[in-house]
């Protein structure tokens, strides 16, 4: 899966978790760009992503992403292993 596909799938997850079909994400999207992105949503988002992509993140990894691009990079690196 390349980064474009991962971002596309992530966008679906974001829309589902935030219950907002108009959310558009890209590599540089950060929490401040999405109004509904609070700490609870962050946890829900990470759990959903783990479930959808079939990957697992450590607590450290979950808290290390600055933006959606880094989130996608982490997913790709796990899918590759």
């Amino acid at each position: 899966m390349d980064k474009k596909e991962v971002l596309s799938k992530l966008q679906e997850v974001f829309r589902e978790v935030f219950d907002n079909d108009e959310i558009e994400i890209n590599e540089n999207t950060v929490a401040e760009d999405i109004e509904e992105w609070d700490s609870l949503a962050h946890v829900q988002l990470t759990e959903k992503v783990q479930s959808v992509f079939g990957v697992k993140f450590s607590a450290k990894e979950m808290n290390s992403w600055d933006d959606v691009g880094e989130f996608a990079d982490s997913i790709i690196s796990k899918l590759g292993k």
Binding site: Q50, S51, V52, G54, K56
Partner: protein
């Protein structure tokens, strides 16, 4: 990959995601596949004031619903004292640093049950690897695969189990008195067989003595851990119905509980034995069977013990 294959692959992936989500919400996942793991996976209440550890009887005996304090039941079915020690070390950060209470429930045969190595797959979803005896990377990969993709391990009869529990929501009917008698006999027979004893009067084997020694070590570790962290430890024995408590003679109770009581006394720890407590042992409506309490019993017992400990 050609586009059509990619489409099929994506559709299969979506179906798998939905099926996994459904299986995770069912009875089989929480009670047979990974019993009692979910409450740890979702636990997030910092500054918890009271928790109980423990095994099968503690899962049934504690219910803090409606009580005016932050409390949680951290017991797991078929959980040895080694499991209690591991759970405490992993989740202690959730306890109130200014002061909290850990209730350590002992089953009648806690002293003899040893460590149950290796730990089951469910522990791989709730414990840090270094606290899982016999942990291996390979086993962890296999366990995580099962945890993430339970649909690939869902048995054919699972759908009937889940459907039945969805319809009847696990409502247990209280047993009749004669069934309670039979249940007690079966349980005692099963335990004596499990721990290779003819009866409570035969001398303990070397194997039994080893297990007792390990059990006491785990309790000592828990007590020291608690003392270092401003946690009050309490050792208790939950109640059982009279048909079962009658099976334990004075000598049997000495063998099974005296060592724990001695450790508690030597360390200034409260020890309360509710095994034959009259408030519970004579009331069949509080028990699911001769051993395990039902919801009514759990609420009454939890309130009783917290009152005895002056926590409410």
């Amino acid at each position: 990959m050609n586009p059509k294959s990619v489409q099929v692959y994506e559709r299969v992936g979506k179906v798998k995601t939905i099926l996994n989500a459904l299986v995770r919400r069912g009875y089989w996942y929480d009670n047979i596949f990974l019993p009692d793991a979910r409450k740890f996976q979702v636990y997030s209440t910092f500054n918890t004031k009271v928790v109980n550890l423990g095994s099968t009887s503690a899962v049934a005996a504690f219910d803090y619903t409606g009580l005016p304090l932050k409390a949680a039941n951290w017991a797991l079915r078929r959980n040895p004292l080694a499991g209690d020690w591991a759970v405490l070390r992993n989740y202690a950060s959730y306890l109130d640093a200014k002061g909290s209470t850990i209730i350590i429930p002992l089953c009648p045969f806690s002293a003899l049950s040893g460590d149950y190595e290796p730990f089951e797959d469910r522990y791989y979803s709730v414990l840090y690897p270094s606290t899982i005896p016999g942990y291996s990377y390979v086993h962890n990969v296999q366990a995580q695969e099962k945890i993430i993709n339970p649909i690939m391990h869902y048995p054919w009869y699972g759908i009937f189990i889940d459907f039945w529990h969805l319809c009847f929501k696990g409502n247990y009917k209280s047993m009749r008195e004669e069934d309670m008698v039979k249940d007690a006999e079966n349980r005692i027979g099963g335990w004596l067989k499990e721990f290779a004893m003819e009866d409570f009067n035969t001398p303990l084997s070397l194997w039994n003595k080893d297990n007792i020694s390990r059990a006491l070590d785990h309790v000592r570790n828990i007590i020291v851990f608690c003392r270092e962290r401003n946690i009050t430890a309490v050792l208790i024995v939950p109640p059982v119905y009279k048909t079962l408590s009658e099976k334990f003679s004075t000598e049997a109770k000495e063998r099974l509980f005296d060592d724990f009581e001695r450790i508690a006394n030597n360390n200034g720890i409260t020890f309360i034995n509710y095994l034959a407590d009259p408030q519970f042992m004579n009331d069949r409506t509080m028990f699911r069977d001769s051993y395990l309490m039902n919801k009514k019993g759990a609420r009454a017992f939890t309130k009783r013990i917290l009152t005895d400990l002056k926590l409410i």
